[in-house]
């Protein structure tokens, strides 16, 4: 019991600072999460000893030295991984497999399968999660590529986010499930299909003949008031529909939040900030596990269907990464190596690129074979027009960019303020109530306005649509003059009453969406941000587009219009303005540029609109950057204090390594372990009295010459194991980190050799090294800690957390907000 107490106590201090003790400790006891290596599974059961697996009773000293203990080399929860160590372990493994492959055919096959396991993994992920989600998760590792190379920097941001957006347009099997179910459940709030309850409104009316003006009505689809009362007209029927709508919305969101709270609390929120951090090397156990996958999929549908102002994209990325993680467990290569799991494309970016291409191929093929919607629904926002635009239209496009930037900055500020309030005050104690209240407000405000009642994706497609003679919606109710029509190309016309009604309804929808999204994003249900921000932008763009169109129609004799917009010509396309607006708002919130433009012109299928999109995206990014520094996901990373080292940092003051290292001048001296003079009890007391995650090993306390670095976790596991399994190890045994231990007088207890756990190549910098170089080293190599030497002697240590705190201090932010290491 004593021992258990000892290692339980020491495990509580996984990080080198104060208040995350409980988390690391508590979650470690039961850290047998889904994405754990099987090694840890045996370890985590705190009833058994830490040696499940490798050791049997007849272990000799030699066995002990060669066979790595299970548990050695794994990480604690909420800690960053050591990229360098993982990379070298993978290299060793690969080298061993290659050298063994010459021995026998079986070994050869093993090496071949090992090489192909990456491809096979991509195949499975592609089948399951869809082309783009897989690309995202795979290339997410690309975000680690260092900052010096300018082209790579462009790719870094482009690849990472480009595919988040592609997701809704290309469902794989899971995404297809989510899509179909979400469409159905959204329509369930309004009515039910008598021809088969599983059809949504559009599919219910597929077979029947609808009228030209009223494309929604068909006898098979019954709204709730029609079902209950028998007729759909009248005030009472309207109230009943309203009531049913709100009730269904509340029920869906209640189910969503209960499922999240009850089964997988990690399934709430968007997931992208956490995944960015995880892919950069942070450990959050259980975040990419089975239960999180299932619950996130199910509750995402519920949350979207309840009419809340959120989207599916971010959560779908999380779902895809869960798939990737779970499938990774099938392959040894990835199971034992945390870095490989994140597809370290550090040193082999080209290889990852080819693999992702293969994954995309597979997923696209999957999509073709499972074709749930028929030919017309492969792409979510199907845009068909190719009208030319005029250079003078750049002015309204830039205006839209400015609007997007302003809105983005406003949204980020207010959302972060609200999330901070949720974290710190009593608001955070009532998550279920919060979700219910927000849903109620959203549903009550959304029902009267038809543009908020329909699902946001439908709204966006309607706004992107250019009005032709085949359209009869309210937004396309222009005053028609059919004698002068030629084909489908309608000229600019005066707006009819329908358009004016639509305009003020859209304006109200805009205001509502702008404010309600602030409170919705970050709630304890899966929530995404792309669709709501695109909706805000699309509404603003369409409003501006119709305004410019009417201006050009009524004042075609003005100088700015007369040159290119003669009456009878079709010059202004409000649908294009909506698209540009959507791009601007999305760019303002997420601060994407290149990726955004690529995504948006994939939507239109033509290169004509690159310049307007680029203009709007750049303007919105500049305006938003002038007001606030970071995008929404980076702001959330900072809010949660994750240790994510961003690629672009420059310091205004010149600082050196010795200004940042620990111990500072006023602190006690650095805690070191000597290479062959300390006893087991000394080391145990050091480990239990301090909370550092690792200790440097020196030749002797006087010379302070560096030998290596040993991790706390490895030390604890090895000493535990030695006390149990090895003969003659007692508290007064000497611990020896060298190859040849000094000879001891006879009668003294046997020596404990721990050379295998010592890292003999820790990174060091001198104390005069400028901090910019140190930060670069941390970022490029993915270090966790770095030792500082002076004149060859060990002086101090810099950890990643110290670097992050230093960066925060330099940027005049609160250094205490960095919570994790």
């Amino acid at each position: 019991m004593d021992q258990k107490g000892y290692h339980r106590g020491s495990f509580q201090s996984g990080t080198s600072d104060e208040d995350m003790l409980e988390i690391a400790g508590a979650s470690l006891d039961f850290s047998v999460a889904d994405d754990d290596p099987p090694l840890d599974r045996e370890m985590g059961a705190h009833f058994s000893s830490y040696n499940g697996g490798g050791m049997n009773g007849t272990s000799t000293m030699l066995d002990f030295l060669e066979e790595p203990l299970p548990g050695v080399g794994t990480y604690e929860d909420f800690n960053t991984i050591d990229w360098v160590r993982e990379k070298s372990r993978d290299r060793d493994r690969h080298r061993e497999i290659t050298s063994r492959s010459k021995e026998s055919t079986w070994a050869l096959l093993h090496s071949v399968s090992d090489a192909f396991s990456g491809w096979l993994l991509m195949l499975l992920i592609g089948l399951l999660a869809g082309r783009n989600a897989t690309l995202l998760c795979v290339l997410g590792g690309e975000s680690k590529i260092g900052g010096a190379d300018c082209d790579l920097q462009v790719f870094e941001s482009a690849h990472y986010i480009i595919l988040i957006f592609f997701f809704p347009f290309e469902p794989g099997s899971l995404a297809g499930l989510i899509d179909i179910s979400a469409h159905w459940m959204t329509d369930l709030k309004e009515g039910v299909c008598l021809a088969g309850f599983w059809f949504n409104h559009e599919h219910c009316c597929w077979k029947s003949n609808t009228t030209f003006t009223d494309r929604d009505k068909c006898p098979e689809w019954k709204s709730w008031s029609q079902l209950i009362l028998g007729h759909g007209e009248g005030a009472f029927a309207y109230v009943l529909n309203y009531f049913m709508y709100v009730i269904w919305a509340l029920m869906f969101s209640l189910l969503a939040v209960l499922l999240v709270k009850g089964f997988a609390p990690y399934a709430c929120g968007s997931g992208i900030p956490e995944i960015k951090t995880i892919l950069s090397g942070f450990i959050i156990r259980g975040y990419l596990g089975k239960w999180t996958l299932v619950i996130k999929t199910i509750t995402l549908v519920l949350a979207v269907s309840s009419g809340l102002s959120l989207g599916k994209e971010g959560p779908l990325v999380h779902v895809a990464c869960c798939c990737g993680n779970i499938l990774c467990h099938l392959f040894t290569k990835y199971r034992k190596n945390e870095a490989k799991r994140r597809e370290v494309s550090y040193y082999f970016p080209l290889k990852t690129l080819w693999r992702s291409f293969f994954a995309a191929l597979v997923a696209a093929f999957t999509l073709r074979s499972i074709n749930p919607f028929g030919n017309s629904r492969l792409v979510l926002f199907y845009v068909e027009f190719h009208m030319p635009w005029h250079l003078l239209e750049l002015v309204p496009f830039i205006l839209l960019g400015i609007f997007g930037g302003l809105w983005g900055a406003f949204f980020i500020r207010s959302n972060i303020a609200w999330c901070r309030r949720r974290k710190t005050t009593r608001l955070g104690k009532y998550p279920v109530l919060e979700v219910l209240v927000v849903t109620a407000i959203t549903a009550i405000l959304a029902f009267p306005n038809e543009y908020t009642r329909m699902s946001t994706s439908e709204l966006i497609s309607e706004l992107f649509n250019d009005c032709g003679i085949l359209d009869s919606s309210k937004l396309c109710e222009y005053v028609n003059d059919f004698n002068s029509t030629k084909g489908d190309d309608l000229p600019d016309r005066a707006a009819g009453p329908g358009v004016y009604t639509a305009m003020w309804q859209l304006a109200l929808a805009l205001i509502m969406k702008v404010f309600i999204t602030i409170f919705t994003f970050g709630m304890k249900v899966p929530s995404g941000l792309f669709i709501p921000s695109m909706a805000v932008g699309a509404i603003a763009g369409r409003l501006l587009g119709v305004a410019v169109e009417q201006l050009a129609f009524y004042h075609h004799d003005w100088a700015i219009f007369s040159g290119w917009c003669s009456p009878g010509a079709d010059c202004i396309t409000p649908g294009l303005y909506a698209m540009v607006g959507a791009a601007a708002c999305l760019g303002g919130v997420t601060r994407m540029t290149v990726s955004l433009v690529v995504i948006m012109f994939e939507l239109t299928g033509g290169l004509e609109y690159i310049v307007p999109l680029m203009a709007a995206a750049m303007t919105s990014k500049w305006v938003a950057d002038a007001i606030g520094r970071e995008g929404i996901y980076d702001a959330h990373i900072r809010l949660n204090g994750y240790p994510f080292l961003e690629a672009k940092e420059e310091f205004s003051h010149k600082t050196r390594a010795m200004d940042v290292m620990r111990p500072r001048k006023s602190d006690p001296a650095l805690t070191v372990i000597t290479q062959d003079t300390m006893k087991v009890e000394d080391v145990e007391s050091i480990v239990s009295s301090t909370t550092y995650s690792g200790y440097p090993v020196v030749v002797s306390p006087t010379s302070q010459r560096l030998v290596g670095f040993v991790l706390r976790r490895d030390l604890i596991i090895s000493i535990e194991n030695a006390r149990k399994k090895q003969d003659g190890i007692v508290s007064t045994s000497i611990i020896c980190f060298t190859d040849y231990c000094p000879p001891l007088p006879p009668g003294s207890p046997s020596v404990l050799k721990l050379r295998s756990i010592l890292d003999l190549s820790p990174f060091t910098v001198t104390d005069e090294t400028p901090m910019e170089i140190v930060v670069d080293i941390f970022r490029k190599l993915g270090l966790r800690q770095c030792l500082v030497t002076h004149n060859g002697k060990l002086l101090g240590i810099i950890t990643k957390k110290d670097v992050l705190k230093h960066i925060a201090q330099m940027a005049n932010q609160d250094p205490e907000s960095i919570l994790f290491n």
């Binding site: 059809f199 599919h203 030209f212 299932v294 074979s369 749930p372 970050g522």
Partner: protein
């Protein structure tokens, strides 16, 4: 290893099922040719649906009865837009039913965990061992009993024991996650 094999098998089965769905013979009900014809002179706009093959999907085959007299047919048909569409109603039906069943199972499991299990435990272990339950949408109670239950599960069969053990471990995990997300607000603001 067995767990991995089971997972792989279930994954492959799921994929096979989905692939099978996709490859199923097209239901003749699931194709249509939709022609939208805008208003022409004094005829109002109309939408025509007909179940024809792709090569027959044009104005002349689908628009019946033709609302305009002979010479005007060409002008009328030029304005019409005909599209061939197909869907898979079987996929939709199966997807919705799968989704609803998973949702139903999860809800049943949640009800079981919050209501039925404490009731059963109370019957088995006696009132004195239970910890008081909370007032909120209560699912703290079963998790708090994990230690007690684990200590007492001696005389069961080996498989049941393992299942029980795995379940208790999972519950503790969820409890930890819930603490960090909902109570301490450390992760996922």
């Amino acid at each position: 290893m067995a767990a991995l094999g089971a997972r792989l098998c279930s994954l492959l089965l799921l994929l096979a099922a989905l692939a099978g769905l996709g490859a199923e013979a097209k239901n003749s009900e699931d194709v249509r040719c939709k022609c939208i014809c805008p208003p022409y002179k004094d005829h109002s706009g109309h939408i025509y649906n007909k179940n024809v093959s792709q090569k027959d999907c044009d104005c002349l085959h689908v628009v019946e009865p033709m609302p305009v007299p002979g010479p005007d047919v060409e002008a009328y048909c030029l304005r019409c837009e005909c599209k061939y569409e197909e869907r898979s109603s079987v996929t939709i039906k199966v997807t919705i039913i799968i989704y609803l069943s998973i949702l139903g199972l999860l809800l049943l499991y949640m009800v079981y965990l919050t209501l039925v299990e404490p009731f059963l435990k109370r019957r088995l272990l006696g009132h004195s061992q239970l910890i008081q339950s909370d007032e909120d949408i209560g699912d703290h109670q079963p998790f708090a009993n994990a230690h007690d239950v684990l200590a007492r599960s001696r005389s069961r069969a080996n498989v049941l024991n393992k299942v029980e053990y795995a379940q208790q471990r999972w519950k503790l995990q969820v409890q930890e996650q819930r603490k960090s997300v909902f109570d301490r607000h450390v992760v996922l603001s």
